[in-house]
């Protein structure tokens, strides 16, 4: 079985700017994969290369075994892409636009049942005959996802699908995308909400300045950051100098310390008592992907 996505030694330059510097990545069929990285890391460039919107300076990319340049027809047939920007065709309504989109991929009336299913699943049924211009931002976002799915692609790429989307819609979208994944679709997403990647994705690649700096299962990545975070509210808001090596973050009177093991709590409490600092609130938190992300991006 050929991998859903195979990326081999891909470089992309825009004039003097090297946006991608030798990316190698394989994503298997059926994976739920996250591409993380700060703005300008090269996530969208990589997606645009997969989609054929950009051409690589060198290297190869393939979708289910089909090269995106030399076998672009097969590759694009297998790929659905949800762009980051809320773009739409102002002339047509939701259903017309979805039918056109499926038609570009060679699908006719026989595909209408699937289009109805997508419309229904994304909660667009009562907007199916509304012009794209008149949809709210959230509805436009749903329509964009529907558009990427119109031709029933086995591989779905979502570029920041939940940017600027309210909590309710975000949960609804994820429930739908999880269902697609269960039904066998390979899902690749970029997101700024790290907790989303953490709960949804089985594997994560982190990009920084055009290079993959981490590529592992979500679980392994989480294990990379030592243990737990201890969040304390202190009065007076002062951290004894002996605890400074453990400090991860400080905001007002909230101090977050990194613990490699739970037993360190005793040491922290003793030091605070000795310095006569009172604990007003205390929370022990598992390290999350954000910690890994910050650690790696800072490195």
């Amino acid at each position: 079985m050929s991998p859903a996505i195979h990326i081999e030694q891909v470089y992309k330059s825009f004039g003097p700017l090297q946006a991608l510097k030798g990316i190698n990545l394989t994503i298997e069929q059926g994976e739920f994969f996250a591409l993380l990285g700060p703005n300008g890391a090269g996530k969208s460039t990589l997606i645009n290369l997969l989609a054929g919107l950009l051409r690589p300076t060198s290297g190869r990319l393939s979708v289910m075994g089909h090269d995106v340049v030399t076998e672009y027809r097969q590759a694009r047939q297998l790929l659905g892409v949800v762009p980051q920007e809320l773009v739409f065709d102002p002339f047509f309504n939701v259903r017309e636009m979805l039918r056109f989109q499926a038609g570009y991929f060679g699908l006719g009336r026989e595909n209408d049942a699937w289009i109805d299913e997508v419309i229904e699943s994304l909660g667009l049924a009562d907007k199916a005959h509304t012009n794209m211009r008149r949809l709210s931002g959230g509805m436009k976002r749903r329509a964009l996802i529907a558009q990427a799915l119109a031709h029933r692609p086995p591989v779905l790429v979502l570029d920041e699908p939940t940017a600027g989307v309210d909590v309710e819609l975000r949960q609804m979208l994820w429930a739908f995308i999880k269902r697609l994944n269960r039904e066998g679709h390979t899902i690749i997403l970029t997101t700024h909400y790290l907790e989303e990647a953490e709960t949804l994705c089985s594997r994560v690649a982190m990009l920084k300045q055009g290079e993959i700096v981490a590529l592992d299962s979500t679980e392994n990545l989480l294990n990379r950051v030592p243990g737990k975070n201890l969040r304390l509210r202190l009065a007076p808001s002062h951290l004894p100098s002996t605890l400074h090596p453990m400090l991860r973050a400080n905001e007002g009177d909230i101090w977050t310390l990194a613990l490699s093991e739970a037993a360190q709590i005793e040491f922290v409490l003793a030091e605070l008592r000795a310095a006569d600092v009172r604990i007003e609130d205390m929370q022990l938190i598992e390290a999350d992907l954000e910690d890994v992300f910050m650690e790696i991006v800072r490195a």
């Binding site: 051409r55 672009y72 065709d89 002339f91 056109f100 570009y104 006719g108």
Partner: protein
Amino acid sequence: MIGMWTLFKKEILRFWKVSFQTVAAPVITALLYLLIFSHVLESHVQVYPGISYTAFLIPGLMMMSLLQNSFANSSSSLIQAKVMGNIVFLLLTPLAYWEVFLAFLAAAIIRGIVVGGCVWLVSLFYIDLPVAHPFLILAFAVLGGGMLGALGIIAGIWAEKFDQMAAFQNFIIMPLSFLSGVFYSIHSLPPFWQKVSHLNPFFYMIDGFRYGFFGTGDIDPTVSLAMVAVSFLALSVLTLQMLKSGYKLRG
């Protein structure tokens, strides 16, 4: 084939949904030209013996409207899709560059012929226009619409904002169409300007098209047909090259 057909259908629907703007408005504009010029010049000018100035004017106006609207169809569709960003929905599809070309071209020709045909229909209320060579009329309509449709694709790919598109339209398309002999025979021009007119491909389209109605024109219609066909082919090759290379569309 379904993909190309879908794009063609979408391009047709796109102008048809706003047909007041894309069909009715240019027909009204052509009729205003017809009313004013025929009122002012009918009794003073006779270009060809036995043909009234109003009759002379109508095929020219039909062709001018056809050309301008073929250009407008492909160019405005592309520039809007580029500025709005929804061009990605086309670029993400497995459509080949030549399928995109043919779909845009065919829709542009249809819009041109619909507008030109409407000018003709309305003009029937004024005057009974002869039809000497119907196939010649059709050939010039299709080739002229195709040439401007291709030019519209080129402009749509090249322009990055509406301002540049307006420049293309106002500084290239408008002067070429107004100075092509729509309103006059080039034989009425001084010899130098007659020679300049021969460099304008629009002149051959108008003159050959008019020949199809009256059986008479400024030059031999086969020369016009050859000039228009060669210009159309040259522009098509250029357009196909641009689409194939992904110029300004795929980075």
